[in-house]
Symmetry: C2
Subunit: 340 residues, 2 copies
């Protein structure tokens, strides 16, 4: 079946395309009889407007772009879920891209989205991203940009994040109140802001409780999406410190689950011999044994909020109203389970 | 910064837009000096072609649409991961939509994708979808359509799936070889083809091994994305059959994990008292206790293959070559762990 266009409808009815277009949009300068005729034919031929052409005329594409580091990842799935829900309500389409934590790919994806003329962009940065000129380019193009969770502090745009420092402070403080004193930390990559802030929260909780910070208890997990990294560092931790460690706080749940597997296999009792506290509250954390205490990061809410702000900014732009950038901190909560 | 268009470039150089356009595309009827001048200016002004306008002229959008039932779902995340990789390589963008297992929403999303003029569509159907006229519409529009995993048998298009019946036959047969005889089944919704086929594979394995099929051992789990459904049905199973059941085969891992939680909490030993076998091999199945035997479904491979076929069909269509629909069965494998 050939595509039914405005022109096809116009030819069949002996009208101009502009009359047909106005009739479909229910303009008041078209008489009711014509409107009815056009609308009935459009319906019977299953006419659907060509939205690309429409977007081109309106200078809006009704498409927004989203770039995340990784797709197969519980937290990011939740963020996308939140974004899709908000977009659906507003009849926006979402183009999804994953950077695979690769800066060059992320940069290329931004170019593609700009070249396609999307109305706005939401990004959660790759861990390896240290240069932000691609973000500056989005702003130069006057395209609304929202950074979510993995942000660049120096870029002037709206941001949706959690208070990583406070969240990990709370977790470590909880462990200390429970009597744990030699608390190890599996931190993430040295670069991303989250992993820095989570480390700083850990350190501050120790200092505020008069516990000496021991750098030898901190392990850098480069590949922090991989739970075998948690397993291997747990092995190192016990080799290095033996009985002189009684708790472990990890930058994410995957590392904690890897560590729990090592402890379980080696009959190192959790939480009697060592307590474990994760971060992100992945679904699986509630079903492993022992169940893992963690920090609920509210990914869906972060996604929803990012999209809400993006659509506000797109609307303000169309109305030529000034945009005030927002920094929204989504609440986290401690989820206490059997691992501590 | 205002957007740099062909017209801006043309005005600055005193050339026509068609000359500038041809120069950028390296056409042979434009002299080298002009090409160089145009290309340098385009570069210095960060010109990026308006791909929507381009798509409109070329009758291709370089955008494909993907509709999945649910985003926060390990298997579908893997499918999308595979699709995104293939699209990235070919410079296609992917518009992602989730139907939330809702037929009306799925239908509306198809209309949106058609109205946007996407080049092709990949769908994994909602469990509730019983009417396929929206799929027929895609075919009427002459837009390549690939169905993945959750398919409609009667729709004439390419399909990528696994052999659900064989996979569950293999799993149940494995349990029988291990000596289990009273094998319960937590099946999915009555409607989707996968859940029907997995049930039929279960039944056939029993019959081929001369074990009587007992319908009272089959529990229908409507809400099969929820692991509490597995928990509750495990409770019912034990209440109904007491010691007269020695194994459980579930239509997905979430149900199995819910059941394992119930058994663990009630001190029903796995696999000594009851063995458990799942389906899909979610990441968490390897980290729970006891680790869960399951069927690896190769979601990423399914996504990759769907996208490969889609792009082949799009290319064939552009070259006006005939399209031969493919039905690709992706291999599954039994993953044996401690739960049986």
């Amino acid at each position: 079946m050939p595509k039914v266009t405005l022109k096809v409808l116009a030819n069949k009815l002996g009208l101009s395309t502009s009359t047909v277009s106005k009739a479909l949009k229910d303009y008041s300068d078209i008489n009711e009889e014509t409107k009815l005729k056009v609308q009935e034919l459009a319906k019977s031929l299953n006419y659907t407007p060509n939205a690309f052409a429409q977007g081109l005329r309106n200078q809006e594409s009704k498409i927004v772009g989203v770039i995340i580091p990784s797709m197969v990842h519980y937290f990011f799935s939740n963020i996308i879920d939140g974004i899709l829900k908000e977009a659906e309500e507003r009849n926006y389409m979402v183009v999804l891209m994953q950077s695979n934590e690769d800066y060059d790919l992320e940069k290329k994806q931004v170019d593609v989205l700009l070249s396609k003329g999307v109305d706005g962009i939401i990004i959660s940065l790759a861990n390896k991203t240290r240069d932000f000129s691609h973000l500056a380019k989005i702003i130069d193009y006057n395209i609304p940009l929202i950074l979510v969770d993995k942000i660049a502090k120096t870029i002037n745009c709206s941001k949706v994040l959690i208070d990583d420092r406070k969240a990990s402070y709370d977790a470590v403080n909880y462990l200390i109140q429970k009597g744990y004193k030699r608390i190890a930390h599996f931190r993430g990559d040295l670069n991303p802001q989250n992993s820095i802030d989570r480390f700083l929260g850990y350190k501050k909780a120790l200092l505020d409780n008069n516990i000496e910070f021991d750098p030898s208890l901190v392990y850098v997990c480069d590949n922090n999406s991989d739970f075998s990294d948690g397993y291997e560092n747990a092995e190192k931790l016990i080799a290095d410190h033996g009985n002189n460690v009684d708790a472990l706080f990890t930058v994410n749940d995957l590392l904690a689950i890897g560590a729990i597997n090592y402890f379980n296999e080696n009959n190192i009792k959790i939480p009697e011999r060592i307590a474990v506290f994760g971060f992100s509250n992945w679904f699986m954390s509630s079903v492993i044994s022992p169940s893992l205490s963690s920090i609920e990061q509210n990914g869906t809410k972060m996604g929803e909020k990012s999209a809400q702000i993006l659509f506000q900014e797109i609307e303000s732009k169309h109305k030529q109203k000034p945009i005030e950038f927002q920094k929204v901190i989504i609440d986290t909560e401690l989820i206490i389970r059997k691992s501590c």
